[in-house]
């Protein structure tokens, strides 16, 4: 496959791996966080860890849009379908996220709620046009990548004069989450989460550009390398981070130059600015309330805002006590540190959201990497 295979070449990978091995100093460690679930997935699926020296460690970040969605917001979406009899449209993985009372959108669907899985925001608009007698709500989730399409359908709905279409907006912002992690006591004061550098988002950065990350490297003195989602992108970004750390530099570097500019996509950004505004605060699963970390629909488009239209009341719901998703999303714990990982919490019956999406740290490790835990346990048994 042209333009894909080039970025998955095994020989090139071994070449970069050899350079990382040669350049990584043996007297220190490198704790690098990949923010995005797309990177987490690539690392697990292609077995990138196998190519890294043991002192270069990857920490999975909170950049999986499904994983950070709090239970209360899913409950709200289920209410829209069950109590307001709306057709609720959403992206695939969202349907499986556990909600309160043992429900999920998928289980609500099996009980008769009209939940539709869609591939694009435009599909939701089409469903509204095809069902003029029904209320149709697009349950919009995601980071900056999926926000512009939501803005477009809201504008289109207005242009078409649709009166049965609205959006339940749950779009969140990457920079706010990165700041939150860097400000967390584990990173800042306790130092229990060593975090030496970041692999910056791929698709998000195509929209917002590389400029927003300049603040982090300045304020927190941590290097950021923006990388594509292909495995060679990730390898190259790791090498660039190792080099920055060796040189004592903290800069924004862009590995993903084929898609990301400093300014980002101006058209998409202005669309988003026209339709959305900042929320003063938004709850993230695992991170809690994060100030100015999400978007809501502006007054000018209020009639397309499901929260206003249906008077949605948000009620926060605590995670299952045994679930460590919160600590995992902050990089404080690894999936295998969680008692329920792989036992009662599996992709078929997820307790926490990290086990739902293939981009979630737990699901990625369960699906692609858990055979390695067996080897670790066996080795520990021998030592004991």
């Amino acid at each position: 496959m042209k333009y894909i295979d080039e970025f998955r070449d095994g020989d090139l990978a071994r070449g970069i791996a050899a350079r990382i091995g040669a350049e990584a100093r043996t007297d220190r460690s490198y704790h690098l966080m990949e923010f995005c679930g797309g990177h987490t997935h690539a690392i697990s699926r292609y077995g990138i860890k196998d190519l890294l020296p043991p002192n270069v460690q990857m920490i999975h970040g909170p950049g999986c849009p499904v994983c950070v969605l709090p239970i209360g917001r899913i409950d709200n979406a289920i209410e829209l379908a069950t109590e307001h009899a709306a057709i609720v449209c959403t992206y695939a993985d969202t349907i499986r996220v556990p909600a309160s009372g043992g429900l999920s959108l998928m289980k609500a669907k099996a009980r008769g709620a009209d939940i539709r899985m869609i591939y694009s925001a435009a599909d939701a608009l089409k469903i509204a046009q095809d069902n003029p007698q029904r209320e149709v709500v697009f349950f919009a989730i995601g980071f900056e990548t999926t926000t512009p399409p939501t803005a477009i359908v809201i504008r289109q709905a207005q242009a078409l004069g649709l009166t049965n279409f609205s959006v339940f907006c749950n779009h969140v912002l990457t920079p706010a989450a990165i700041t939150h992690i860097l400000e967390s006591p584990e990173v800042r004061e306790l130092g229990t989460v060593p975090l030496d550098g970041f692999i910056g988002p791929a698709h998000v950065s195509t929209v917002i550009g590389s400029q927003p990350y300049e603040y982090f490297v300045e304020e927190y003195q941590r290097p950021v390398v923006i990388a594509g989602f292909e495995p060679l992108d990730v390898m190259q970004a790791i090498l660039m981070l190792v080099r920055q750390l060796n040189d004592g530099r903290a800069e924004v570097e862009n590995e993903f130059t084929r898609a990301v500019t400093r300014e980002g996509n101006q058209k998409a950004k202005s669309l988003v600015a026209e339709v959305f505004e900042l929320r003063p605060s938004f709850e993230w699963r695992g991170l809690g309330e994060v100030p100015y970390s999400a978007l809501r629909i502006k007054e000018a488009y209020a009639s397309f805002d499901a929260e206003r239209r249906f008077g949605i009341v948000y009620r926060p719901v605590a995670d299952n006590k045994a679930c460590e998703c919160g600590a995992i999303l902050r990089g404080v714990k690894k999936p295998t540190d969680c008692k329920v990982f792989g036992t009662v919490c599996t992709p078929e019956n997820p307790i926490g959201s990290c086990m739902v999406s293939s981009e979630g740290a737990c699901a990625a490790h369960y699906t692609y990497g858990r055979f390695k835990d067996v080897a670790i346990k066996a080795a520990e048994a021998v030592v004991e």
Binding site: I4, R8, G47, D50, L51, Y119, E348, Y366, G369, R370
Partner: protein
């Protein structure tokens, strides 16, 4: 003149007619549909007898039976339709025991309002597939459900076959050291279906691989009677079938990503749909496990058959009490090929 008037029955209107409740009611309309469509298309001595069953003498040896329901949407897709699919699917399930398929039974659930012309296309496609395979449909049943309670047509087929002496093919027989083979490119059927789904529709040159594999299997078991496992990786694809073998046999599997044949178009479609070809359905492919020393010979026999030209050895069975299916990625790492979570796409066959 008092002569008895000659009977005239208006023929079934396959051009504009639609299935109605009388076609399943047990009366004249049903009898007429069976006579003018099913009995003519499948034309054989058993159906000609007009019984509700079919009588045949059991052959010597061990018999095998398999049944399969087909609910594919859309009913017509590049490379096939629900009709030929329902014949191939069951023939393959019977043949995967190493058997020679003998007879089929077919059961139709029709939805009121379904165009009779489409039904005829489907039945004729089924009849052609059954003739080509040499496996007649010798008994059947038709039911009609009210509009909105079905989706056009569902077809269940059941097949029987006979296993030649000396063969012991079963999913629980894989042993560490055995070779794993696949008969050709994976994911073609699933991608062909997906290309037509209303909310996906993309253009592709990929056609479904739907085919009856008993000819290929006859050649394989004749050449290598020591074959241990055979299965067609339909729903859930290659990844699921290997996990089934691993669980049944209590062994692990180790495959090489670079050895697995995948068409570039299938790879490309999976790439933008976010799917993994390892889990995409096939309808004309099989996975075989055989002793290591027979692998090259078996591969040569498979490649010599028109339905096995792209066959490949993709890995081996290993000792692993955890029964993991592992894969060396083309990238140089190693990962699990796990059971599929949820479903990649519903109603693929």
């Amino acid at each position: 003149m008092s002569a008895v008037r000659k009977d005239y029955i208006r023929p079934v209107d396959f051009k504009h007619g639609r299935v109605d409740m009388t076609h399943g009611g047990g009366g004249r309309a049903m009898a007429q549909l069976i006579e003018e469509l099913f009995a003519q298309a499948f034309a054989n001595e058993w159906l000609a007898q007009g019984n509700d069953n079919a009588l045949f003498a059991p052959p010597a040896g061990r018999m095998v039976i398999a049944t399969d329901s087909h609910v594919v949407s859309p009913l017509f897709f590049p490379g096939g339709d629900i009709g030929c699919l329902s014949v191939h699917g069951t023939i393959n399930d019977v043949a995967m025991a190493g058997a020679r398929p003998l007879y089929l039974a077919a059961s139709f659930i029709l939805e009121e309002g379904f165009p009779l012309g489409d039904l005829r296309r489907i039945v004729e496609s089924m009849a052609a597939a059954s003739r080509d395979a040499g496996v007649p449909v010798i008994t059947g049943d038709t039911k009609v459900v009210e509009q909105g309670k079905g989706d056009g047509v569902f077809i269940t087929t059941t097949g029987v076959g006979v296993v030649p002496p000396g063969l012991h093919i079963s999913g629980d027989r894989a042993q560490p050291g055995d070779a794993i083979l696949v008969s050709g490119t994976i994911g073609d059927h699933g991608v062909a279906i997906m290309s037509l789904r209303e909310n996906l529709s993309f253009e592709t040159t990929i056609e479904s691989d739907t085919a009856a594999l008993h000819g290929l299997i006859a050649a394989m078991v004749a050449a290598v009677p020591a074959i241990r496992c055979l299965r067609d990786p339909t729903r859930g694809g290659l990844g699921t079938t290997l996990n089934e073998f691993a669980r049944q046999s209590g062994a692990g599997m180790l495959i090489r990503e670079s050895a697995i044949p995948v068409r570039p178009q299938v790879n490309a479609a999976c790439e933008f749909l976010g799917l993994d070809p390892l889990y995409v359905a096939n309808e004309g492919k099989l996975i075989a496990i055989c002793p290591r020393e027979d692998a090259e010979h078996l591969l040569a026999v498979m490649r010599a058959h028109p339905l096995g030209t792209d066959a490949a050895i993709i890995g081996e069975v290993i000792e692993d009490p955890h029964r993991f299916v592992q894969m060396d990625t083309a990238f140089g790492g190693r990962r699990i090929v796990d059971w599929l979570t949820g479903e990649q796409l519903p109603r693929i066959c």
